[in-house]
Amino acid sequence: MKFASEFRDPAAARALLAAIATKADEIGATRQKPIHIMEICGGHTHSIFRYGLDKLIHEGIEFIHGPGCPVCVLPMARVDECVEIAERPGVIFTTFGDAMRVPGHKKSLIRAKSEGADIRMVYSPLDALELARRNRDREVVFFGLGFETTTPSTALSIQQAAREGLTNFSVFCNHITVPEPIKALLDDPDMTLDGFIGPGHVSMVIGIHPYDFIARDYRKPLVVAGFEPTDLLQSTLMVLVQIGEGRAAIENQYARVVPEHGNPVSLAAIADVYERRPSFEWRGLGEIDASGLRIRRKYGAFDAEEKFGIGYAASSRNVPEIEGCACGAVMTGKMKPTQCPQFGIGCTPEMPLGALMVSSEGACAAYWQYAGARAAAE
């Protein structure tokens, strides 16, 4: 049967699913009155859909897909600014491939590239740095996008550029942080969240303590998880056990990779290069306090916002999203992707209308990609 062949360790998965079912019954979770568990990280969302975990799990457990896909929460205005920078003469604009197809108001980066802008997909900011070394007469801009897992890489690259005295390298910093949007969601009276599965690779950098406020101030459990299916099931079980015992704590299921206090070198580099913006705009979620980073003054020579006078600080806020797009409602778990009027009609992975359709970590793209597998599991 499908189930057995899908899991590398089917016996372990089966045992965990059974244990979850027992716990869920014990705490009275039902289809009508489900326990809502948010997986924050887009990698977890992808894994849940890939294995159909939301279908295999006890019906009283509902996964709410969190805002942890940096591409999905990237506002259109930021994409417009990327295009604007990329289309300036003399610029080589470098970006992770994930950002290429995110729609802007006028166009995406991939369209700008096809129209002649020098936009290059790179695997690492180190490659952007190397491009700057090889093209001293061009300005090489790297699009700094992503959560705490990616932030150290741009911070260390800026430090390296400073050491080398490169004058033609800058970062268009749109880095965001994980804990703040969770606080915003917990403060949203429309959200019912009973517990969280915390991101693994983000926590490898920041450790588990930045989440302490979730247990302390909101009395909700959070378990940092690996992204293999059995990791996710085990973490779900750990959340349920806490709920059953009336506890709320931050626990670490992924201790084999995530140190309690994170990675000190990464944290030092982030603190040296970046500071918090008072607030930052998230697609679908709006402005969130202290949720974005900008480059500190002392590294201003490597700040594309300073060099080009464009960016979040300079723009008008909250440019409206495309009409008929339900990304915000899907992102906050108020709507399923399939309930969006555009799903599969005006919005597909080939021609995404909303950002949730762009990356395999976006809930809509994941729904679309695994529709067949889901039908089989149902």
């Binding site: 590398r8 990280c41 887009g42 990698g43 992808h46 894994s47 890939r50 942890g68 896909c69 940096p70 591409v71 470098t94 992770f96 491939g97 994930d98 290059r120 997909m121 790179v122 695997y123 690492s124 900011p125 180190l126 490659d127 190397e130 491009l131 090889r134 996008l145 992503g146 959560f147 897992t149 990616t150 150290p152 890489s153 260390l156 390296q160 690779h201 983000v202 490898m204 950098v205 992204f227 293999e228 084999r256 990779v257 140190p259 990675n263 070198v265 990464s266 580099a269 395999s360 970590e361």
Partner: protein
């Protein structure tokens, strides 16, 4: 972009800049090891690390590396990362 991929450090290429050669699914790629170097960068040779956008972020054991790689393959993320590495080489030209 959000998930690291396991690679084995095979040589230190530039101790001053904390750069090393890593083998990721038999693709060789230079990576920065600042986050895991500690006091003895040479001790990294032979070790497995989770590599994230060109930066080794965490030392892991061989077993963890194998199971992580397998999980990434099942999600299609490993292939995607390797493609991005290849693309990036072209982009440098």
């Amino acid at each position: 972009m959000c998930l690291g991929i396991p690679g084995r450090i095979t040589a230190i290429t530039d101790a001053g800049r904390l750069m090393a050669m890593a083998e990721v699914s038999s693709v060789r790629r230079e990576v920065n090891v600042a986050c895991i170097a500690g006091n003895d960068i040479d001790a990294l040779v032979g070790k497995w690390a989770l590599i994230h956008v060109g930066f080794a972020m965490s030392i892991i054991d061989e077993e963890e590396a194998a199971s992580t790689l397998e999980a990434l393959r099942e999600l299609g993320e490993a292939q995607e990362t390797l493609e991005q590495m290849a693309h990036s080489q072209e982009a440098l030209q």
